[in-house]
C-alpha cells in the first residue's frame, strides 16, 4: 500500500479536513493538529503501517507539515 496515501488518509481523518492541497502548511499553527492529534497520529502509524515512533522521538518541528510527516514516515517504514 502507498505510504503517502495512507498517511494522508490518516491526516484527513484526524484533522477533519483535506490536507492534500496544502502539503507545506504548518498543521500546528493552523490549529488542525495538537498534542492529542500527534498521539493519535503515532498510534495510527503503528496500527496501519507498523511504524513505531516513541513519543520522545516526536520532535514537533520535524512533524509539522503533511510533506514532512510523509517524508518522516517513509524514512522509518
Amino acid at each position: 500500500m502507498d505510504i503517502k496515501q495512507t498517511v494522508l488518509d490518516i491526516l484527513n481523518d484526524l484533522t477533519g479536513s483535506d490536507v492534500s492541497g496544502a502539503m507545506d502548511d504548518n498543521l500546528f499553527d493552523s490549529g488542525l493538529m495538537d498534542s492529542m492529534g500527534s498521539v493519535q497520529l503515532l498510534l495510527q502509524l503503528q496500527s496501519q503501517l507498523g511504524v513505531n515512533v516513541p513519543v520522545s522521538e516526536f520532535e514537533r518541528s520535524e512533524w509539522d507539515t503533511p510533506n514532512k510527516i510523509v517524508a518522516k514516515v517513509e524514512s522509518l517504514a
Binding site: 490549529g31 498534542s35 492529542m36 500527534s38 503515532l42 498510534l43 513519543v55
Partner: protein, 402 residues
C-alpha cells in the same frame, strides 16, 4: 566569602563578563576548552551554593551523585533489558527527592527540607527526561561526563530554561563557525540588556514599589464580598506584570549567557500576552516547562490511555489528561491550596478552550472572525491569565485566612 543569587547584582555580571572573555576568544578561533568551561562552571556554582549557603551546596552534590547513579545505572540496564516496572521504579526514585522537598513545608509548618537547594526541580526535570528518552531508545549513548555538564550547566541551573539532553549534547560537542557564533554573541548581549530592563527596572517597579503598597491597601479594604476590592484588582495586574518581567528577565540572562557560551538554550517566553487563547498561552509562557509537561506527562499519558482504551472518546482522554497534567503542575509549584487551585483552574480552562475550538472548527461559517474578535480574544485570555496569577500569588490566602 562572596555569595550571590545568580544574575542578582552588578558584581555578578562583572564577574560573568571577565570569566566569559577567554571562552569567547576561544570560540571565535574555533576552540572549546572543556577544562576552562568546567572551571568557570565550578566557580559560579561555588558563588551560588557556597559560603553561607554551604548546606545547599552539600545537598546539591549528594543529589547530583544520586541522579547520576540512577540515570547511569538505568542506561546500562536498558542496553540489555527493558522492563516496565523497573522503569517506573527508577522514575519514582528520581522524583523522590523533589517530592520530599515539596511536601516537607506542608507537613512541617512551613519549614524547608534539609535536602533542598535552589534549582532542584529544574535538575529533576532534566534527569527524568534523560531517563524517559533512554527508555524509549531515543537516547542511546548516555555519557556520564556530558550528563554532568548538562545538569550543572551554570547559566540555567537555578531556574531553567529546561534544555534537553540530546539538544544540549549536540551544541556542546561542536563549535559554531565564526559567523554563526558572532550572531549568537550579538543576540546574547541583546537578550542580557533586555533582561536588565525587564528585571531591574520593570520588575523592580511592579514588584518592589507597587505590589507591597497594593497589598497593604487590599488588606485594609477587607470586609466586602469575598474581601475583594479595587486594590485587589490592582494587585492582580501588578503581580502578573512582576511575575512576567522578573522571570522573563531572568530567562533572558540565562539564554543570553548560554548563547555567549555557544550553547543555544531554548527561549522561555514568546510574547505570551498576545495569546488569543489559553492553549496558545501555554505555547508562549514558560515554554520549556510547559513543553516538558506536554512531552513527558500529557502526551505520554494520552498515549497510554488510548493504547489501553481507557476512555471511549478521544475528547474525554484529552480532557482528563489536561486536568491531570495541570494538577501535577499545580502540585509541583507547592502543596498549598492556591497552587493546586491554580493548576485546576488552568486544567479546566484548557478543557473549555478545547471544546470551544472544536465547536469553532465545526461551525466555521457561522462564527465571526475579524479584528474585533481577535482583540477581544487576546483581552479575555490575558485577563483570565492574570486572574489565575492572582490565585497563584497567595494574596487570597492572606485576605481570607490571616
Amino acid at each position: 566569602m562572596l555569595s550571590f543569587e545568580p544574575y542578582g547584582n552588578p558584581t555578578y555580571f562583572a564577574l560573568l563578563g571577565v570569566a566569559l572573555l577567554p571562552l569567547m576568544i576561544g570560540l571565535l578561533y574555533g576552540k572549546r576548552s572543556r577544562l576552562y568551561e568546567t572551571l568557570i562552571s565550578i566557580f559560579f556554582l561555588v558563588l551560588t551554593f557556597g559560603g553561607p549557603k554551604w548546606a545547599q551546596g552539600v545537598a546539591l552534590i549528594i543529589y547530583i551523585l544520586y541522579e547520576v547513579a540512577l540515570t547511569w545505572g538505568y542506561a546500562v540496564y536498558r542496553k540489555h533489558q527493558n522492563s516496565g516496572p523497573i522503569f517506573y521504579l527508577m522514575v519514582i526514585l528520581a522524583i523522590a527527592p523533589l517530592a520530599i522537598v515539596k511536601v516537607t513545608p506542608a507537613v512541617e509548618n512551613g519549614q524547608a527540607s534539609l535536602i533542598g537547594f535552589l534549582g532542584i526541580s529544574y535538575l529533576t526535570f532534566r534527569a527524568v527526561q534523560t531517563m524517559m528518552e533512554t527508555r524509549d531508545g531515543t537516547l542511546k549513548d548516555y555519557q556520564v561526563m556530558t550528563f554532568l555538564q548538562f545538569m550543572l550547566f551554570f547559566p540555567t541551573i537555578s531556574s531553567g530554561p529546561i534544555d534537553r539532553y540530546r539538544r544540549f549534547e549536540a551544541d556542546y560537542r561542536s563549535v559554531p563557525d565564526r559567523e554563526t557564533y558572532l550572531g549568537m554573541v550579538q543576540k546574547g548581549i541583546r537578550y542580557i540588556f533586555v533582561g536588565f530592563l525587564y528585571k531591574f527596572i520593570l520588575a523592580y517597579y511592579f514588584g518592589t514599589m507597587l505590589m507591597p503598597k497594593l497589598q497593604l491597601m487590599a488588606m485594609h479594604a477587607r470586609g466586602g464580598f469575598l474581601d475583594l476590592s479595587w486594590p485587589v484588582l490592582g494587585y492582580m495586574y501588578a503581580y502578573s506584570a512582576d511575575l512576567f518581567f522578573d522571570f522573563a528577565g531572568y530567562s533572558l540572562f540565562a539564554v543570553g549567557t548560554s548563547y555567549i557560551m555557544g550553547i543555544a538554550t531554548p527561549m522561555n517566553f514568546k510574547q505570551p500576552w498576545r495569546s488569543p487563547n489559553i492553549k496558545d498561552f501555554w505555547n508562549r509562557w514558560h515554554i520549556t516547562l510547559s513543553f516538558w509537561f506536554r512531552d513527558f506527562i500529557y502526551m505520554r499519558l494520552v498515549f497510554w490511555f488510548m493504547k489501553h482504551r481507557i476512555f471511549k472518546k478521544p475528547t474525554t482522554t484529552a480532557n482528563v489528561t489536561y486536568i491531570i497534567n495541570m494538577l501535577v503542575m499545580g502540585f509541583w509549584h507547592g502543596v498549598t491550596w492556591y497552587y493546586i487551585t491554580y493548576g485546576l483552574f488552568h486544567g479546566c480552562a484548557l478543557v473549555i478552550n478545547d471544546t470551544w475550538l472544536r465547536y469553532k472548527k465545526k461551525h466555521r461559517a457561522s462564527v465571526p472572525h475579524n479584528g474585533f474578535t481577535q482583540v477581544f480574544a487576546i483581552f479575555l485570555t490575558a485577563n483570565m491569565v492574570c486572574f489565575s496569577f492572582l490565585i497563584f500569588s497567595g494574596l487570597l490566602d492572606k485576605l481570607w485566612f490571616h
